[in-house]
């Protein structure tokens, strides 16, 4: 009865206990970093000798942090828009197209997800140095869009495969142009896929470290590059404060995603 929750007997207690331990392990660094950001010890003693907000004050006093966060947000937003538009167009071809090499094309477009990022990072770094896009916002956006594209294509193709094309055909029979039918019938039907694609593409850029390290210039730094630079110097509690804000952002993103998905699926 190994797959009956109610009939597992003693095994259930053991497995539940183990699951609890793993959940605690997964939660540990996240909770720890938030607690640490309020601790008063510069040397990150834990439990902290006292509580303070001074690391947050230090964080906000340094404009470089805010600037890096804004740069990241700006790049990630452009990446999300580009990846969704390009991915949406490609998904129609991948799902409905009947041409030779369709599976090869699918494989090719998804390869950036599989190739080790460091290989792509040095390749695009060398390429951009040559064509003069190194250290530019455009360079960042292009490189991150390449990496984000698979994360946009996967949920959109999945949604499109689950959509019955005859509904779109019906709209055309009723007098809609093919474009109009896609815009007003198909797109609303796959909006959850599109929404997931936007979130995943945004996160793919927002969290990206390796390409960003190579691409960054002294005047153009994303948030991960700023954190990376600070980490290599020391383990200052200011990083804990910045990290806690990122955890807060993740939590809000999870909640918003859950709410929007619920609303969209109605």
């Amino acid at each position: 009865m190994l797959l009956d929750y109610d009939r597992l007997g003693w095994l259930r207690a053991a497995l539940l206990g183990f699951t609890g331990l793993v959940a605690a392990f997964l939660l540990l660094p996240v909770v720890f970093i938030v607690l640490l950001s309020f601790g008063s010890s510069r040397w990150l003693a834990f439990p902290p000798p006292g509580w303070t907000l001074k690391w947050y004050a230090e964080l906000f006093a340094d404009p470089a942090w805010l600037e890096a966060a804004l740069t990241s947000a700006r790049i990630a937003t452009m990446v999300a828009i580009l990846a969704v538009v390009i991915g949406l167009l490609a998904s129609f071809a991948l799902v409905r197209g009947q041409f030779r090499g369709r599976n090869t094309l699918r494989g090719l477009l998804l390869t950036p997800m599989v190739l080790p990022v460091v290989v792509f990072a040095i390749a695009i770094y060398a390429f951009f140095l040559r064509i003069g896009l190194g250290g530019t916002t455009a360079g960042f956006v292009i490189a991150h869009t390449v990496l984000a594209l698979p994360f946009a294509i996967i949920p959109i193709t999945a949604a499109l495969e689950g959509f019955d094309k005859s509904i779109e055909d019906a709209a055309i029979v009723c007098g809609a142009s093919p474009f109009e039918a896609k815009l007003r019938v198909t797109l609303p039907a796959i909006k959850i896929g599109i929404f997931s694609a936007a979130i995943f593409a945004f996160l793919a850029s927002w969290d990206e470290v390796v390409v960003a390290i190579f691409m960054a210039s002294p005047t153009l730094q994303t948030l991960p590059v700023k954190i990376w630079g600070s980490l290599r110097q020391d383990l200052s509690p200011v990083i804990a404060a910045a990290s806690s804000l990122l955890v807060l952002l993740t939590l809000s993103l999870m909640i918003v995603t859950a709410l929007i998905r619920r609303k969209l699926s109605k």
Binding site: L26, P29, V30, L44, L109, P116, V118, L149, L231, A240
Partner: protein, 286 residues
Amino acid sequence: MSGNLLHRQPILRRPDGVGGALPALTLITLFFVVPVVALLLRSVTEPVPGLQNYAILFGDGTYARVFFNTFLVATVVTAVTVIVAFPVAWMLAIMPPALGSIVFGIIILSMWTNLLTRTYAWMVLLQRTGVINRTLMDIGLISEPLPLINNLTGVTIGMVYIMLPFMILPLVGTLRAIDPMTLRAAALCGASPFNAFRRILLPLSLPGIAAGGLMVFVMSLGYFVTPTLLGGTSNMMLAAMIAQMIQSLLNWGLGSAAAFILLLVTMALYALQLRLVGAKRMTGGI
């Protein structure tokens, strides 16, 4: 005869062509394929044409150690991740939804939290004077701090932490797809729980374990951030070595040769994984 209307107008059945894929194809060709191929060409043309970069990589003990470290860590991380993930996925597959959604929430939170944030937390936790060593000393398990960071132990802990969600989530799908009846039948026929596990549950979940395990292994081979921050300079892994060859040593020939080896191994394992699970099932896992 509801379908007749559409059948009489075959023009409606005209599929979308390849045209829509052109922007994506252009982007990937121009900014992915071309740069990567150009990089790999440098491995056989710099500093002089020939295979000397590969000869250096395979002939030198220092590089052999990096390759060994990389495969060792990837193997251990994969094994530990599979063993830890399986019971969790098993519970998640059959747990009451209310309880399960809490565990799922924790997994997603951990997975979506900034990679550097999580690694930073482990850097602090695993320090000589960090919480883990202090706690172990306080309860008397150890008398002096364990070396948990700047070595392969630290890298393994940090990597298992990052890989666990990638193993648990697909495995839940595999386990949910198994018909509980098969196990009920086994119990009715007198199989002990151990035998039912060994002869039914485990074999039936093996495709999921293999697919997830391969994915974790491939990701671990090319991982850069966590090994660099938790491993210290004397325990370099392949991705960090490649970055260093390019960034600090400016040795493009050697760096791109190492990148080519990493690419080749990754792609071979990826092809194997596609054969195991099929492209659709794997990419649908997100």
